[in-house]
Amino acid sequence: MSKLQELEIKNKYTGELLGTIPADTPETVRDKIKKIHKNQHLLKEMDFFERSQLLSNFATKLRFKKPELKDLVVAEGGLPIKYSEWELNIVMNGFKFCDWYYQFLEEKPLTSIEGEQLVRIRYIPHGLAACISPRNTPLSLPLYQLGANYLVGNGAIVKPSTACPLTMLKAYSMMEEMDLPALEALDLVIAPGEWTITASHTAKDILARYGRFLKKTVDRSMGVPMYTQPFKNFFFECAGNDAGIVMDDVNLENVAKWNVIASFTNSGQQCFSMKRIIVHKDIYDEYLECLIKEIENLKYGDPTDPDVDIGPLGSRRILMMMEVMVEDAKKFDAKIFTGGEKIDTGEDYGLFYTPTLVEIKPELCGKANDIKDALKLANASNYGMRAVVYSSNLKNIEIFKNELEAANIYINARPMLVDITVSLGGIKDSAYPAGCKYYPQELVYGKYIYDGTPINIDKIK
C-alpha cells in the first residue's frame, strides 16, 4: 500500500491555509478507474438530450452557489474577483446550453450520386477518458472536461491542478448533492505535485515522445499505469504565443483597451493571452503611448478587491520564469516601457510581476511596414493558437483570414471569452491534433453505416 499524503491548499495572496485534503494513492486511483469503467454503461442508458438537460440543471445549481465558488476561485487560484465571474460564466453558460454541441454529434445521412440515402455517419463515444487540467483555471477547464465527457457519454476521470483543486472538489460535491444520475462514471483525482512531469509542453515535443512520454505523463500525473497499450486517442491543447496586429486605420485608444484585456486577463496567465503585438509603423509610437497608458491603469494587488485587474501569480516558478524572460530580453537590448518589476514576499504566496511591455528589436519583432510584413512577423512563431487583427481595410481583412497561421482568428473583435461558439485548439506546437476544436467533438469517433436493406431486402430474403 502506498503512503497516504495530505495536500495543503493555500490562499495565493495571503498564504492562509484554505484546506488540507488527502491525495489519492496509486491504489485509490486504480479503484476509481475500475469504478468508472464498471459504471460507464449508466451514461449510455440516457440519451444525449437527457444528459444535456441534467447538465443544464447542474448549471442552475452552480449559479446559486456563485458567491461561494467565486471566493474559492479567488482564494486558491489568485484570480481577481473581477475575472472570477468569467471563470464561472464560461462553464455555466456552456452547461446551460450544452445541447448546442449536438450539431457536432448529430447522426448525419449522406446522399449518394444516385440520390439514395443509405449511408449514415453515427458518432460513438470513445470510452473512458483521462483528463488533466492546468492551474490557471481552477474550475472552468476541469469541469468542462468532466461535463463534455458526460454529455457525449464517456466515463471520465479528471485531475484538477494540485495547486487549486478545492473549487472543482466543491463542484463535484454539488453533483453528488443533486444525485446527478450516472455520477458513478465520473470522478476526480487529487494527485501530489511530484507525480506530474515538468517538461517541454509543445505539441511537437510531446508527439515526438508519444507512446512513451505522453503515456508516462498521464500515468504519473494520475498516479497509476492506466493502460498497458497506448491510448485509443489523445489530444491536447498546449501553449500559445498569440499575435495581435494593429494596422494604421483603426481607433488606437479603443484597440489599446481591448488589447490590454486580451493580454492581461487572469493576470496574463492564459494560453490565449495576446503576447506579441505587431503595429503598423505609421502609428507605432502613438499606439505605444495608448497601450502604455492602458497598462499603467491596471491595478494589481488583493484579488478580492473588485477594482484589481492583476492578482498574484500562481507559483514561485512562474515568477522566476517572468524574471528570466525579461532578463533574457534585456540581453537583446530590449526596452522595458513599463513594468518589469517583481513583488516577492519571500514566501510561496503574494507574488506579483508588474504588467510589463517589452520592445525587442522593433523592426524584427513588432513594427510592420505593411500587411506582408505584419503577416511575416505574426507567423514567425512555433505556436498557432489565436491571432487577432484590428484593421478597417476589408481587402486586408480577407488576406489576414487566409494567411494568418493560427487555428482561431479574431478580426476586429473584443476579446471573446464566454460565448458558447468560442473554440479551443491550435496549430503548430499549440495543439494536437491541429485545428480549432470543440471538446465534445474530440470525444467521439465516427462510424460509417451503410444500410442497403431498403433496396436489397428482396434479394437477400
Binding site: D99, W100, Y102, R414, V418
Partner: protein, 149 residues
C-alpha cells in the same frame, strides 16, 4: 407593438395578474422574438417547488405579427419556461423603466438569491432552434445574457 391580456380572471394568484399587467406595458421587450414564438412564465414560491417543477401559477406569452398575447396556463408547445420566484416578481413590477426592468431581471439570473429573488429557464426546444427564433437576442436585451464587457 400591441399587447393583449387574455382572460386575466383565470389566474390563480394576484401576483400573476399584476405581472401580466406590467408586462403588457412593455411589449417591445419581446420584439426580438419571431412571430409564433410562445413561452411560459412559471411562478414559484420556493426553490424546492422549482426543483419539483410545481409552480403556483403559470401563463404564457405568444408573439404574433403585431405584438404579444398573454394567456393563462402553459403553452401547448411552448419553446421554454422562464421560471421566476415570487420575490423576484414583486421587485420586478416595481421597476419604472424597461431598462431598469432588464437590469433587475438580469441580476436575478446572474446573481440569484433564494431569499431576494431568482429566475431561471428550462429549454423545451434545442438551443439552436431557440437562437434561430430570436431568444438569444431576447435574453441579451432582457439583461439575462451578459456580453463580455
Amino acid at each position: 407593438m400591441t399587447s393583449k391580456i387574455v382572460n386575466q380572471k383565470a389566474y390563480k394568484t394576484e401576483i400573476a395578474k399584476k405581472y401580466t399587467t406590467f408586462l403588457a406595458k412593455y411589449p417591445e421587450i419581446f420584439s426580438d422574438l419571431i412571430s409564433g414564438s410562445d413561452f411560459d412564465f412559471a411562478l414559484y414560491n420556493s426553490l424546492e417547488s422549482y426543483d419539483k417543477r410545481s409552480p403556483v401559477d403559470i401563463f404564457h406569452v405568444c408573439r404574433n405579427g403585431n405584438g404579444i398575447k398573454i394567456k393563462p396556463g402553459s403553452g401547448v408547445d411552448s419553446d421554454l419556461e422562464l421560471a421566476l420566484s415570487i420575490d423576484a416578481i414583486e421587485k420586478l413590477i416595481q421597476t419604472e423603466t424597461k431598462v431598469e426592468y432588464a437590469e433587475l431581471l438580469g441580476s436575478f439570473y446572474n446573481d440569484p438569491d433564494e431569499k431576494n429573488g431568482w429566475i431561471d429557464f428550462i429549454l423545451h426546444k434545442r438551443t439552436q432552434t431557440l437562437i434561430n427564433m430570436g431568444y438569444g437576442k431576447f435574453a441579451q436585451t432582457a439583461g439575462i445574457l451578459k456580453d463580455d464587457d
